[in-house]
């Protein structure tokens, strides 16, 4: 294992993903090679239908690659069964989804506690204290006992961020985390992610359509038609886009 591999949070080698069978088979990702280091803040950009969400699902261990190798913290996930994948996901990953996806039946603080509760098999006082502190950190002090539907969209997305950070995962995957928010809420949510990245060295892979948000990341990966067509600093990748437009 190389030094680079040791430093890798995520490694994808020649990963493909197809849907359907026979004549209806469609290959969405074509031989993706990608490496995300620990503590990196990566934006994944590309037009709709380019395979960003599919790639995020593979990285998030929610789906399996059709071929190729995917390693999380150096561990190859292909041979793992569903239970092992679930365990690895719970220990390693945090998720922030585009549409908040909180559990409406649970209170805000219970939603935040859920990743820890799923690991421990129940809620406890220490979890509640940590969840309350996280809610405070995302600006939702005193909102813990409310139900998600009693909060605005921006507030719900901040709850989702708090939930993603509950287990202190080394990698957080965010799918359009600011997609449905106004500019102010969008800034607040992104700043939260960036703070976490700076303070704890948490790695982030953020799928976004928003070039402004992508420009604030350390690295931008552009996906077009299921292939990585550009990978570099925001200036390199986003300039490349401007050049192509020109």
């Amino acid at each position: 294992m190389s030094a680079e591999t040791n430093d890798a949070m995520l490694e994808l080698e020649a990963v493909t993903k197809s849907f359907g069978e026979g004549e209806a088979r469609v290959e969405v990702l074509h031989g993706i090679d990608l490496r995300v280091r620990r503590g990196e803040l990566v934006a994944l950009v590309g037009p709709s239908g380019s395979g960003k969400s599919t790639l995020l699902n593979l990285i998030g261990l929610l789906d399996r690659a059709t071929s190729g190798v995917l390693r999380v913290q150096g561990r190859e996930v292909g041979p793992l069964d569903d239970a092992a994948l679930t365990k690895l996901r719970g220990e390693t990953l945090g998720f922030v989804f585009q549409f908040h996806h909180l559990v409406p039946a649970l209170s805000v603080v219970e939603n935040v506690m859920m990743p820890a509760a799923l690991r421990a098999g129940g809620f406890d006082a220490a979890m509640r204290a940590r969840a309350t502190a996280l809610l405070e950190a995302v600006g939702l002090k005193g909102q813990g006992e409310r139900l998600p539907r009693q909060l605005s969209g921006g507030m719900q997305q901040r709850v989702a961020v708090a939930r993603a950070l509950m287990n202190d995962p080394p990698l957080v995957l965010a799918d359009e985390p600011t997609g449905n928010l106004d500019t102010q809420s969008s800034d607040q949510v992104f700043e939260l992610l960036r703070e976490r990245h700076r303070e704890l060295g948490t790695a982030f892979v953020i799928v976004t359509h928003d070039p402004t948000l992508a420009a604030r990341c350390e690295r931008v990966v552009r996906l077009v038609d299921g292939r990585v067509v550009a990978d570099g600093t925001p200036d390199e990748v986003l300039e490349d886009r401007r050049a192509r437009k020109a």
Partner: protein, 397 residues
């Protein structure tokens, strides 16, 4: 388990209207189960106690003599063999048989009895009766006349006798009144010690109950009995026990089931229809629970996907939905058993028979309700556990 229960409860609380409706359905189903079961069971018990309260569950008597043909070489061909003429058959060794039967498995009481026809008369009034003689404490184990005494005492010593209220009215008998009992051996005078009302016309109009010795004298059977009456632990085992007694002793043993075929058929038909009603009611409950949970799984696809994404195992998801079924089952059982019991008790006030709430029916209904909840939740729970998290989050899988 704790977390699964928490989530299950929260999911049910979230879909409150749906949950309340299906809970009402389960409650009504369980109540109907308890109600029907209690009514049928009590009705059967009442019928049985009315029937068996006035007769032995097994009657053991000496075997019928068979007509035997003596054959010679080149004998005569007989076109027809007549049964022997009825005559008194002594019950040889009845005391030994009593001891054997008392130690037979399933037999709880044995009463040697003499019964024979006679004519009871007082003044000019006459009536054909059956003189029944037995040890009073043993007879009480078979036909409990003591508890059915309308007046007088349960005494049959000396010339004391018990008569039914029908016979007393017919002959104008009062307590202490003498009356004549006549057989081919001549007349005997008895006195009325008690008048009973058993509810069975054959007893109330026709029985004269006296001691074994007196009845032996009246019927001309000194030291003999006509039959041994048996009570068994489980009335429905009577036929099997009777067959085993016949096989072991060579005596003739007839169970109440054989003597009351029509009643038995009626009881069995009641059982079958009651079972069908209960099965269909619980099927309807199961389908109700299953349909609500299927809808719940469809409605919560996204949430299930998210829970799976953030670390929920398939087993936990399975548990969450199974527990929802179990919660419907348990709460429905508690409410339904209470409601069914209240209905049954309420009806008991207007029926001619007492309605008993048997613990076995109540516990059975509760267990069936829980099992129905779990079984009906199985399919939706499995489909929830099998949801592909990525597809569930996308909302298309």
């Amino acid at each position: 388990m704790r977390l699964a229960l928490h989530l299950a409860w929260r999911f049910l609380r979230e879909g409150r209207a749906q949950s309340i409706l299906i809970l009402a359905g389960v409650t009504i189903g369980v109540a109907a189960y308890v109600f029907v079961s209690s009514i049928i069971s009590s009705l059967q018990k009442d019928l049985l106690s009315r029937t068996l309260g006035t007769q032995a569950q097994i009657v053991v008597s000496p075997p019928e003599p068979e007509s035997r043909v003596l054959r010679d070489e080149g004998g005569v061909f007989l076109r027809r063999v007549e049964p022997p003429e009825p005559r008194r058959r002594p019950f040889d060794g009845w005391l030994r048989h009593v001891r054997t039967l008392e130690s037979t498995d399933g037999v709880s009481a044995v009463c040697p009895k003499v019964a024979g026809p006679a004519l009871a008369a007082r003044g000019a009034a006459e009536r054909a009766v059956l003189v029944v003689g037995a040890d009073p404490s043993r007879l009480r184990e078979i036909v409990d006349l003591a508890s059915k005494l309308r007046e007088g005492a349960y005494r049959t010593d000396g010339d004391q006798a018990l008569v039914g209220d029908g016979l007393a009215d017919e002959l104008g008998l009062r307590l202490g009144a003498p009356f004549r009992v006549t057989t081919d051996r001549g007349p005997t005078t008895l006195r009325v010690a008690g008048i009973f009302d058993s509810g069975a016309a054959s007893l109330d109009d026709g029985w004269v109950v006296t001691s074994l010795r007196t009845a032996q004298t009246i019927t001309g059977r000194p030291g003999d009995v006509t039959e041994l009456d048996l009570r068994v632990d489980d009335v429905y085992e009577a036929e099997v026990i009777a067959a085993s007694i016949e096989a072991q002793t060579g005596l003739e043993a007839v169970s109440w089931m054989e003597r009351n075929r029509d009643l038995l058929t009626a009881l069995q038909s009641q059982d079958q229809s009651s079972t069908m009603i209960r099965v269909f009611v619980m099927l309807a409950v199961a389908m109700g629970i299953a349909s609500v949970l299927v809808v719940s799984v469809v409605q919560r696809r996204g949430q299930i996907g998210i829970l799976r994404a953030i670390g929920a195992t398939r087993r936990l998801v399975l548990g969450v939905f199974l527990l929802q079924g179990a919660i419907f089952g348990v709460i429905g059982a508690l409410l339904g058993v209470g409601l069914g019991a209240a209905f049954a008790k309420g009806l008991g006030n207007v029926t001619l028979f007492a309605i008993e709430l048997e613990p076995s029916i109540l516990i059975g209904a509760a267990l069936i309700s829980l099992a129905t909840g779990l079984v009906s939740a199985l399919l939706p729970a499995r489909s929830a556990a099998r949801l592909d998290p990525a597809a569930a989050i996308r909302g298309d899988g």
